[in-house]
Symmetry: C2
């Protein structure tokens, strides 16, 4: 018996474990210091009460013979798909219910979608990047090419017409940089994908943070995208579902490759290797899209957006170059001249007792940069910024 | 861009859609007839109150900042892994917590586990079989061989020493036949796998139905199995979780192939392509393993077991050959001489107004057999058996 040897080519990431070790060692040596964590990628505010009540009601239903729900449709219940459809309609994106696949999160779907593509495809990944795009393709042995995201292009790389690729990853608002593509920029990517018979895997996990109404929340706001793009979204950051687990993936009926509907392939993949999201969780997700739920989650998003504003205002005051923070929970700052990302990490930890994430952990183009996040406590975020401003 | 062409080799299964169509057509023509469904593979009794209360409490926790749970470990929370560990210990199977991977169900894991194996492996699948084993391997383009389950071997095929395979599927208690391997028979399979450097994928989804204490509930009750077997289990049938979604997969530390720990490969797969089961659902699952939960789910299992007994007693009375029904929710009966599975389906529907599942839908060796299930209503199951006994 043979293992999948591509797994042996995976590089172990020590990014977050190294951070944890360094913080632990410092805290043990300096028990009197108050460390503020601005490196966290998880939400900290609770679920909205609409979701909590909906889940409790659904749990009660599961306890009665009359209202019990056994196996549901693998693609998700109609009540949730209709809610998602209505949400997209607000941005003038018309979806059919059968184009929506409810899942346990964008991370699962971003990995599993590769099942329906040949291993022979060439992949294009931005650098720096969310590590899952890279690792899932290494597992399949696909050829990976990179596009450079850097200070010159504002961490928003554009297509290179001289390069031909098959699978393109775009994350906007971006993790880790917080940069957001405009509609015109995405239109260039769509045109490139259509010309090259490529598929765009569009990660929209942070769309809820977009406040500028001219920026696209969905790639389907761009004409032609339904012919070449699959969109991944989740309630993790929209509604604090990181531990509750519900997302959705849009595979338009029009995306066809080699005369085959990708929607049909993904449906077959999900009906064969997945059994749907918990009924209880789907009811909690549905509640997010109600009037009450929408108002409640907006308050949480506004809380994080305020944190982001506190950070970006401090960076402006200090004359630090950054992207993100507006329309995004991530702020990607340039570290002081002559320092590496890790040196700046050590400096911040030891001198300001602030924890962030070294940009080099997300790829070579992250070197010299540093990620701060808006998911922390408001008072602590303010305190951290005061520390940065003080000598 | 190229699709995964293996998907085009998948055969569409029309089994359950054909059944639904036939039943609908008959019901429309005969609105006065009371149709009893004994074909259902889903549970019909509600969740136990211990699980319902635990999920409601967990949902409340998710609604408070102090008790909120964001991203959890991809492999599951320790509280649930410890409960599963204790459950296995009752059958003298000692597991380490790191050998247990909590998931959203056995179907997902049975499909996803193939990620860690080379496409070059040869697969051995029983026939008749749960279609997922076959389809997930067709998707990967693996060479598939079959072992015949039939009347002669009591639908419990044993290893053929002249054949060399890499991945072996065993489901016991079996779906669709209800047949259960003895410890001695599983020991032969373990010996075969060890000799051939093969991996056994052991589907234990129906272990809760085993009442005969001499029969193994886990393959790890057999010596040596920890060196060659991965076990899949779920709370779907144990505790009515078909729509609530929680299962677990055991990958022992000792299973090594090509000097690589399969546990480490699966951990890498799950941390990269999965983000854990909902905290709320994991609390509901934990409750199943409490003293209170155990007592409650036993009542539901006993209810289904009673249905199975009503069916098997009727078959004995009628002199019909069958396997299963004892230690299993499925009863696999031989159809009357000269009839095909589908002909018997039509006969039962039209003459007795009973719906079952034609055995031929599970593979060629299912021809001439028919699956009845114990998951229906007790009174209706009795009524159906009375109808079978009446002329």
């Amino acid at each position: 018996m043979k293992i999948n040897k591509n797994y042996l080519a995976l590089e172990d990431s020590y990014l977050f474990s190294t951070i944890a070790k360094k913080v632990k060692a410092y805290a043990e040596k300096n028990p009197d210091k108050k460390i503020i964590r601005l490196g966290i990628g998880d939400v900290t505010l609770p679920l909205c009460s609409a979701s909590v009540e909906a889940m409790k009601k659904a749990a009660d239903e599961q306890g009665t013979k009359a209202n019990f729900h056994g196996y549901g449709p693998e693609q998700g219940y109609d009540f949730l798909k209709e809610a998602i459809k209505a949400y997209y309609a607000e941005n003038s994106v018309a979806l059919e219910a059968d184009e929506i696949f409810v899942s346990d999160g964008a991370k699962s779907d971003l990995g599993n979608i590769l099942d329906i593509f040949s291993k022979d495809n060439v992949v294009l990944i931005p650098n720096p990047v969310y590590p899952v795009y890279l690792d899932t393709n290494v597992m399949d042995g696909r050829k990976i090419t990179y596009m450079d995201a850097n200070e010159e292009n504002g961490f928003l790389p554009m297509p290179d017409p001289s390069v031909n690729v098959d699978i393109i990853y775009i994350c906007s608002p971006n993790n880790p940089t917080g940069a957001v593509y405009t509609k015109e920029q995405l239109a260039e990517w769509v045109a490139y994908a259509l010309k090259n018979d490529a598929v765009i895997l569009f990660d929209a996990a942070y769309e809820a943070f977009i406040t500028d109404s001219s920026l696209p929340r969905s790639i389907y706001e761009v004409e032609g995208a339904k012919k070449c793009a699959i969109e991944f979204c989740s309630l993790s950051k929209t509604a604090g579902f990181t531990g509750t687990r519900c997302g959705y993936t849009i595979v338009p009926m029009e995306v066809k490759k080699e005369d085959t509907s990708l929607n049909k392939l993904w449906l077959r993949r999900q009906t064969t290797k997945f059994n749907g999201v918990s009924y209880v969780v789907q009811r909690g997700a549905e509640a997010v899209f109600t009037k009450e739920g929408r108002e409640q989650v907006k308050i949480a998003t506004a809380y994080y957006q305020k944190n982001a504003q506190v950070i970006t205002e401090t960076m402006k005051e200090l004359g630090v170059w950054f992207v993100g923070g507006v329309n995004s929970p991530y702020i990607w700052i340039k570290v002081p001249e002559g320092m590496t990302s890790w040196e700046y990490f050590d400096y911040l930890l030891e001198n300001k007792n602030i924890v962030g994430t070294p940009g080099s952990g997300f790829g070579k183009n992250g070197e010299g940069f540093f990620r701060l996040t808006a998911f922390g406590d408001a008072d602590l975020t303010k305190e951290a910024m005061e520390r940065l401003k003080s000598k």
